[in-house]
Amino acid sequence: MKKLLRDILIVGWLNGWVPLMRSWIWLVANSITPLSFLVLLAIYEGQRGLVWGLLGGLTWTVASNGISLIGDAAFYRLEIKFQQMLVAAPVSPVAYALGLALSSFIFAAPAVMFYVAYLAALGAFTARGAVELSIALAMLWISTAGIGFAASTLINQMRYAWAVPSILSAVLSAMAPVYWPATVLPSQYLGVVLPTGAAGIIGQSALGIARYGLNVLAAAWASLVIYTAAGLVLLAKVAKWRQT
């Protein structure tokens, strides 16, 4: 267990911290889309839009972290064969996958801190709301990391490794109630179909910007639990060095 945690931190350091310190381009790349939405929502909806934009940006950023490891994992496996070097070494594939997810989170950490600090400055958090949102976002991160790593193993050409995360991020952020309330859907339960939507519903309720029934909130938590469990199973099952 100690070696597992150490390896996660090492991969997080070499793939997240070092490049972040060397170039801010990835930080900007990770933040630019949700910031654009934030600006648009703030212009058209004022402070109310600002809170929606900040919460949406927070959710989107956390989700896109997990998804963005598709590119790194595929690059290390297909292009420079770094993964093969680690296969021939005492490194756990689960530690490697979680380390990549951690490195994505390191890139996103400044943006996440910005959203959290801004929301706090606007007085959007209650203590309970902050805890609920934190748990929901942590679960969202694990579930999208599992989906991301599993998806990376299906990619056999690098050109797809750049396209797939963009598609997945767009689907997960635009097709789910991340920047908009699930109340606009024919059934609010449709909002929990994607993990981003489930986290969005929980976050909107926690910040008091949308009201949902207890059943919808319970469905959102259940959805996130299922996605988190699936993410962990994917990491454990798919993240294997051995190929048949």
């Binding site: 991969v11 070499l14 793939n15 070092v18 093969q84 680690l86 070494a89 005492p90 490194v91 190929q243």
Partner: protein, 289 residues
């Protein structure tokens, strides 16, 4: 240190590797030679526990590749075919991180990384980002990582492909250094002179099967003639091999044949037989049959 018995790997209907058997003593360098698609990389991938074999057995450092992969991974290191270090890291960071991942404490990893970089003449570029370095230097960074790891068995899958003559020799030096430390090395390469210069033992494979094996000297002895005459553009008698317009003869007395070929208008070269000629002889004969 490496023992392979009847090893086979099937992809769909194709046997990429079939009935491969050989063994390597500890501290030796074995080269696996063969044309593209012969099965060299498949063999390496099975031995480093990345790929499951379809049949047969293989042992590395005394452990079964199928049943005991975790034990093997602690005692091996590999430089993959077309592998490269991570571009945004420096050589020092890459080697250091690799050693940390192998379980070395930080201080020990730092010391080993410094020593390996110095040994591979990478000290001057140790703090430059890897993407700014030449292809040969990048390859040496990979070798520095496995050199510093101090394992029992190292797998090098075409480590010198695409490198210039100087860089190749630097890689050779690293391989020799590892051998002197008692590390067993399995090397795949297309450069036959490299195998001849570095190896204690050569395994020649073609279309997934072992076609011959032995010491480089023993294999060279199997060339039917002390000299090789290569003629381009004309042939005067039945050559041992024909590759397009090129005729290859294995003879003990080359002068008379060369004169005849020159008179017939061929461009002629004469050389002493080498391991490359044995590979040509053996693989060429298989292709013709």
């Amino acid at each position: 240190m490496i023992a392979v018995e009847g090893l086979g790997k099937k992809f769909g209907d194709l046997w990429a590797l079939n009935d491969v058997t050989f063994s390597v003593e500890p501290g030796r360098v074995v080269s696996v030679l063969g044309p593209n698609g012969a099965g060299k990389t498949t063999l390496v991938r099975i031995l480093i526990t990345e790929l499951l074999p379809t049949k047969g057995r293989a042992y590395v450092a005394g452990y079964d590749v199928v049943k005991e992969p975790e034990k093997i991974r602690r005692r091996i290191a590999a430089v993959p075919q077309e592998g490269a270090p991570i571009g945004f890291l420096t050589p020092y960071e890459f080697v250091y991180a690799y050693l940390l991942l192998r379980g070395y404490p930080r201080r020990e990893a730092r010391r080993r990384a410094e020593d390996a970089l110095r040994e591979l003449q990478l000290a001057e570029v140790r703090n430059r980002e890897i993407f700014t370095l030449s292809g040969g230097t990048k390859r040496r960074v990979l070798l520095a990582a496995v050199l510093a790891a101090d394992v029992d068995v190292v797998f090098l899958d075409e480590p010198t492909t695409g490198l210039d003559v100087i860089s190749r020799r630097m890689v050779w030096n690293a391989i020799t250094s590892m051998r002197e430390r008692g590390i067993t090395i399995l090397l795949t390469t297309h450069y036959v002179e490299e195998a001849q210069a570095l190896s204690d033992y050569v395994v020649l494979i073609n279309r997934g099967r072992v076609v011959d094996m032995g010491t480089p000297e023993a294999l060279v002895e199997k060339v039917p003639g002390k000299y090789v005459v290569e003629a381009y553009g004309a042939a005067v008698e039945k050559p041992h091999m024909v590759i397009g317009e090129r005729a290859i003869y294995f003879v003990d007395n080359p002068d008379e044949l060369a004169s005849s070929l020159l008179k017939a208008g061929a461009k002629v070269s004469i050389r002493q037989r080498s391991l490359e000629d044995y590979v040509l002889f053996k693989i060429g004969a298989i292709s013709e049959s």
